[in-house]
């Protein structure tokens, strides 16, 4: 049984897995940075707020909470990294693949790959960054088939091209939808096929 560190699940096992995977991937020539949260998992709200405020005032490294993750420097290496994780490190399941637009004035989108090892019970999060202007990344659907639908969803919502995807149609949106709804600079349409979208 995994150790329960917090009420929302084991955290220590994820952190250890992230640092082990970082070393293993760097050893095969994948450039990445290990990002580890620097706020305690459980802390009184006031204490956390103080830490956040102090970091802002002192212009120090920002403090944040959550999962440790590996940030790939080169999005093109994502297929190689995932292949290695699946074949050598035992991460047999891609539980999630998604993207995130941090803010309207940011130039890059985040891509998030969540992997799971059913034997060691560890989760591993890989991330990469793609430019909003030319968001393109190799598809991983040939490594984990679960990526098939997730990439279609991320593609239509964020305007990311997954190069080599077997079936890059829209999945939740209509085929003729204009724009990428989950981008922060998305403009709501006035009408869709003659139907008004205004209140």
């Amino acid at each position: 049984m995994s150790q329960r560190d917090t009420a929302w699940g084991p955290m220590e096992v994820q952190r250890v897995a992230a640092s082990e995977a970082a070393q293993a991937l760097q050893a095969v020539g994948i450039e990445l940075k290990l990002c580890v949260p620097n706020l305690p998992w459980v802390a009184p709200e006031g204490e956390a707020k103080d830490l956040v405020r102090r970091a802002k005032e002192e212009d120090a490294e920002p403090v944040w909470r959550g999962d440790a993750y590996l940030l790939l420097s080169e999005p093109g290496q994502v297929t190689q990294a995932l292949q290695h994780c699946r074949d050598e490190l035992g991460y047999s399941q891609l539980y999630d693949l998604t993207a995130c637009d941090p803010a309207a004035d940011e130039t890059q989108l985040k891509l998030i790959y969540g992997l799971r090892n059913l034997k060691s019970k560890a989760r591993l999060i890989l991330q990469s960054r793609v430019d909003k202007a030319a968001a393109s990344v190799p598809s991983v659907a040939s490594i984990y088939q679960a990526a098939d639908w997730h990439e279609r969803e991320a593609g239509e919502m964020y305007g990311i091209t997954f190069v080599g995807h077997p079936d890059p149609r829209n999945i939740l949106l209509p085929d003729d939808w204009v724009g990428f709804p989950l981008r922060k600079d998305y403009e709501y349409p006035d009408e869709y096929n003659g139907v008004s979208c205004k209140e």
Partner: protein, 390 residues
């Protein structure tokens, strides 16, 4: 003289039988409004005679932009929207979202609230599996099991109505704890329900699961191998039906699940092949009895005390960060990837819904099976379209 089986009719007028008939593939639209799709979803079936040559799933009919809404309302206002992805297991959705928000708040809820959460989540699991098993019978032509299942599910809904006032969309479990404490005598009513339910469980088993027609319609059909299940990201009864020993409640324990004793039910190929439609239903049947076990322990152990974390107020501003928290929903892993920048509105609320991932493999299970088995396969995935489309 030709030797084909219809040869004896060859002398009849108009009975010249052509043997090498070139058949044409026929496209059949199943849905968007079809009882076996359990919601508005369309499956395009390619039939070569009676055999399925291919299938393609079309989603999006129930897309309600849940993730976009998450970026436009504040953290607590989003809670009622979580009720609406998997509307058969709203308690579990509330729990998944609440835990994700709490992980950014760094707040662990009081012990009594944790027990109440587990009690409600497990009761909802029973209700959801009852509905799944009942409607699966309906998909295959057995009408009676559904009514028995709805009768028992009604009791769970009445319990929920007593504790939070709602029957389907509860918003009972919320960031920081639960909405209110269990009313006087509620826990005794839960215990009484469990006693009754354990008896009626055997009805479902004999009436439906051991029924010869049911076995014929599900055993050896839609076989999902372990490799397929892992590669396609299947979770929940879908994954366990294929014999994989994985349950987030045990393997990635949250709340108080590490203090409870229960078994993880796996498919064993009881009536056919490991990973067939029968096994997935089999897992759901026995998960209900495991939930009863969990509930009995919770009822015996539940402590007195507070039900809300003292620091979680009406407006919350979680610390900056990003966190993925997943729980075991009746249909599989429900994950919330939440990103906060320290303000009262989320940057990103990603919902990794189990039905979405489980459904992605269904179209690959269909080729080669009979046309009538399409309903068996889709029904065994137990999708809720509110969750695939969000």
């Amino acid at each position: 003289m030709s030797s084909h089986p219809a040869a004896e009719f060859d002398h009849l007028p108009g009975r010249e039988v052509e043997l090498d008939v070139a058949t044409q593939d026929c496209l059949i639209h199943m849905g968007p409004q079809h009882p076996a799709t359990h919601g508005v979803m369309r499956v395009l079936l390619k039939a070569d005679g009676e055999i399925l040559a291919g299938a393609q799933t079309h989603l999006g009919y129930l897309h309600r932009c849940a993730e976009k809404i998450g970026e436009n309302v504040d953290w607590l206002q989003y809670l009622p929207y979580t009720d609406r992805y998997d509307y058969l297991a709203a308690m579990n959705n509330n729990l998944g979202y609440s835990l994700a928000v709490e992980s950014l708040l760094g707040a662990e809820v009081p012990a009594r609230a944790q027990y109440l959460r587990v009690i409600c989540a497990e009761l909802n699991r029973i209700a959801s599996h009852l509905f799944a098993v009942g409607t699966y019978g309906l998909d295959l032509g057995a009408f009676t099991p559904l009514f028995s299942a709805l009768r028992d599910r009604e009791e769970v809904l009445e319990l929920f109505e007593k504790i939070c006032g709602a029957r389907l969309t509860y918003s009972y479990i919320r960031p920081g704890g639960v909405m209110n404490d269990a009313p006087e005598g509620w826990l005794t009513k839960v215990a009484e329900f469990l006693d009754r339910f354990e008896k009626t469980w055997h009805e479902y088993w004999t009436l439906m699961v051991e029924n010869k027609i049911f076995i014929e319609r599900t055993a050896n059909i839609g076989v999902l191998t372990e490799e397929q299940a892992l590669s396609w990201g299947c979770t929940g009864p879908m994954l366990r039906g294929s014999g994989v020993d994985w349950d987030l409640r045990r393997d990635q324990p949250y709340l108080i699940y590490d203090q409870l004793e229960f078994d993880v039910v796996k498919g064993i190929g009881y009536r056919g092949t490991l990973g067939d439609c029968f096994d997935r239903n089999f897992v759901r049947m026995f998960e209900m009895t495991e939930s009863v076990r969990i509930l009995r322990q919770c009822l015996a152990q539940i402590p007195d005390g507070e039900i809300m974390h003292e620091e979680v107020g009406a407006v919350i501003r979680p610390a900056p960060g990003e966190s993925y928290v997943s729980i075991e929903n009746p249909r599989g892993e429900l994950g919330h990837y939440v990103v906060s920048n320290g303000t009262k509105i989320a940057v990103r609320v990603r919902v990794r819904s189990p039905s979405f991932c489980n459904m992605s493999v269904a179209e690959h299970l269909m080729p080669g099976s009979m046309l009538g088995d399409a309903a068996s396969i889709i029904g065994s995935v137990d999708i809720v379209v509110g969750e695939t489309d969000r």
